[in-house]
């Protein structure tokens, strides 16, 4: 598979480069490898209009997909947008070039509160924060009442058969760890075992672990309490009835992500990459991205420029904790614990 992928990729690049030379190589280019639907197309078009740099975008839907493609020999990209845990993994693997913050003047716009909590790349020597957020809990208040904004909601038998959690071990175990007062990046096997027991208590009340169809079920009234990303939940819900949703981050805290721009060590268009990153951090542009995603911006001056009310406020993320890379041994342990939960009795 790896070989096939590599060949296909080489062929693709060859095709791209032939195409590139045939239509005049004078134009500057930038190869961006980004999450799907993360940056609105007109923002990219405006960047090209302002700088003349043509952006070629390729997209991925998970960090793992991006990482595996790069490790399998995918090259030719200049910028990737990994989440925190993958930033540290990619630093360790030597995949990232490092960023000179002096070349990103708009870096000053990023909320220092966000920067101070970054454990995966302290001092931002390799990454420039783009967007952050977290999965929370959505409750259909027309159906469910008498709960606290806590992870304990999943223990309530009166919602049995009406609740789902994400099919994602870091999110579910992270929630249980926070509920117990531990870190979402806990490495102690005994504490992880405690967290497993918490999830086993939740499990009988859950319809399923689902990261694909839960938002649709929630919108249809099938599920009353779901764990998931606000953007997924709100997207499916009837706009007029959105006030019915109580979206909250459990008071004990929750796992949180921060996606950052990184320049790859093999990048060929470094100047263009810096221009792009700085452009994305400009308040008006950051505001447009946040409006599009309906997420709060880590970019302080951008917040005043937003025209859409985000699904939650930046301050709501205060109780969150960034997901860090667990290291291979602990990752194995998490996998084992998660497998036991999934396979169950």
């Amino acid at each position: 598979m790896v070989i096939v992928k590599r060949v296909a990729f080489a062929a693709l690049l060859a095709a791209v480069s032939i195409f590139g030379t045939s239509c005049g190589g004078a134009k500057e280019r930038l190869y961006l490898y980004n999450w799907t639907y993360y940056i609105p197309e007109d923002v990219i078009k405006d960047f090209t209009k302002e700088t003349g740099i043509q952006v070629i975008v390729d997209s991925y839907s998970s960090n793992e997909e991006m990482y595996n493609k790069l490790v399998a020999g995918g090259s030719g990209y200049d910028i990737v947008v990994p989440s925190g845990d993958y930033v540290s993994i990619m630093i360790a693997e030597g995949l990232l070039k490092g960023v000179e913050l002096s070349r990103v003047p708009n870096f000053k716009n990023i909320d220092p509160k966000a920067l101070s909590r970054i454990g995966f790349d302290p001092g931002n020597r390799y990454s420039v924060p783009f967007m952050m957020g977290a999965a929370g809990v959505s409750v259909n208040t027309t159906r469910a009442s008498g709960y606290e904004q806590s992870w304990s909601i999943f223990e309530k038998p009166e919602f049995k058969g009406r609740m789902t959690m994400l099919d994602d071990m870091r999110e579910v175990l992270g929630g249980a760890l926070k509920y117990l007062g531990y870190s979402v990046n806990e490495t102690d096997p005994a504490r992880l075992e405690e967290a497993r027991q918490v999830v086993e208590r939740w499990k009988p009340n859950l319809v399923k672990f689902d990261a694909e169809a839960f938002a649709r079920g929630f919108a249809a009234g099938e599920f009353w309490v779901v764990q998931g990303y606000a953007e997924n939940v709100y997207l499916e819900y009837d706009e007029k009835r959105r006030a019915e949703i109580d979206f909250f981050f459990p008071r004990e805290g929750m796992p949180m992500y921060l996606d950052s721009f990184c320049i790859l060590s093999g990048a060929k268009n470094v100047d263009a990459a810096y221009k792009f990153i700085d452009f994305m951090l400009r308040p008006d542009i950051a505001a447009r991205v946040s409006d599009y995603l309906m997420l709060p911006s880590p970019n302080v001056p951008a917040r005043a420029l937003m025209t859409v009310k985000p699904n939650y406020e930046f301050e709501d993320l205060d109780k969150g904790e960034f997901k860090e890379d667990l290291g291979l041994e602990t990752l194995k342990l998490y996998n084992e614990v998660w497998r036991r939960i999934r396979v169950g009795n």
């Binding site: 598979m1 790896v2 991925y60 839907s61 998970s62 960090n63 793992e64 997909e65 990482y67 595996n68 490790v71 399998a72 989440s83 993994i89 058969g161 009406r162 994400l166 099919d167 994602d168 071990m169 999110e171 499990k203 009988p204 859950l206 319809v207 399923k208 672990f209 990261a211 694909e212 169809a213 079920g217 249809a220 009234g221 099938e222 992500y257 291979l328 996998n335 998660w338 497998r339 036991r340 999934r342 396979v343 169950g344 009795n345």
Partner: protein
């Protein structure tokens, strides 16, 4: 025997099989003996770790669950398909009935699953109807359990069972049933002693065509299953895309492939002696063709499970 250019005609299918079936299968075999890469992929260090990991009782539980669901839904499918096939063979509107069996294939498989979700959901059509009739107060939870998985699996694979049964029963000489009745057999006895033994091949094909894909089911338990409907297909997918243990995923699918292949061979052998004992030349050659089909089918399961698993992954962070 004279050797003409006949062998050349087989070249396209040989190339096809090599590229899309044998080569992937070999990769799975190779990967299953390697060390898992740090974050997916494999390292070229040979080890038996993956096979040791299969000894974990967790896997036995999933396997048991999968066999239960697969056998149960296959049996139900066959019980429904048999009378359908029989009725179609005897009907004067065969073309229309055949068309009706095939029509569901015009709609994408996933869309049909979502249709079932719309029907069976707590707020779905069926519950609405029951509430309107006053038969249910709140709502009955039809979805997200093992029964829902079996129902949708039966629905999905029913045509695969009906078609081979129909084609076998269609070739059956129905005057034999009359003869049996003349010789004093009851209606049921005639079917039991004359019809069923004669369409054995069709039943076997129908069984294999349903059991094998159901055994590797992935999307159905994922979408309509609950927390307890975890099947081997889901396990392979999760090992591949979430736990990132490619050798383990390969080893599991390889073991499934081997077990199914051996099972199929035993079944065919048991059936084969019977066909020979019955002494029908035509049936014998059909049996052989069926045997090849079935073997290929069996071996495809594991491969399909692995390849299919990779596609719908993603969405999470």
């Amino acid at each position: 025997m004279k050797r003409g250019p006949g062998g050349l005609y087989a070249a396209p299918s040989v190339v096809w099989l090599t590229v899309f079936f044998i080569a992937p299968l070999l990769i799975i075999v190779l990967y299953s003996f390697m060390t898992p890469g740090a974050r997916g992929g494999v390292e070229l260090k040979p080890t038996l770790d993956a096979y040791r990991a299969i000894a974990n009782p967790v896997f036995a539980r999933v396997t048991f669950n999968t066999i239960l669901v697969a056998l149960g839904s296959t049996m139900i499918t066959l019980l429904i398909a048999l009378p359908c096939g029989y009725y179609m063979a005897r009907s004067s509107k065969q073309t229309l009935l055949l068309l009706l069996v095939i029509i569901p294939f015009w709609t994408n498989f996933l869309i049909r699953i979502y249709a079932w979700i719309a029907i069976l959901g707590n707020e779905g059509f069926l519950n609405d109807l029951l509430r309107a009739l006053g038969l249910a107060q709140d709502s009955i939870r039809f979805l997200y359990n093992r029964w829902a998985v079996m129902l949708v699996l039966v629905y999905t694979y029913l045509p695969y069972a009906i078609l081979p049964l129909f084609s076998t029963i269609d070739k059956f000489d129905f005057s034999l049933l009359e003869a049996a009745r003349d010789l004093g057999a009851t209606k049921l006895g005639a079917i039991n002693k004359v019809l069923l033994p004669n369409i054995r091949g069709g039943i076997l094909t129908a069984f294999l065509f349903t059991f094998i894909p159901i055994f590797g089911a992935y999307a159905v338990p994922l979408l309509v299953g609950g927390t307890e409907s975890y099947m081997l297909g889901n396990l392979i997918a999760d090992e591949l895309t979430k736990s990132r243990n490619w050798p383990l995923a390969s080893a599991i699918s390889l073991v499934i492939t081997l077990v199914t292949t051996i099972g199929v061979m035993l079944l065919l052998r048991a059936n084969g002696t019977n066909v020979l004992g019955g002494g029908g030349g035509k049936e014998e050659s059909e049996g052989k063709a069926g045997k090849l089909d079935a073997l290929a089918g069996a071996a495809v399961v594991g491969t399909a499970a692995v390849v299919g698993a990779a596609a719908p992954a993603g969405g999470g962070r």
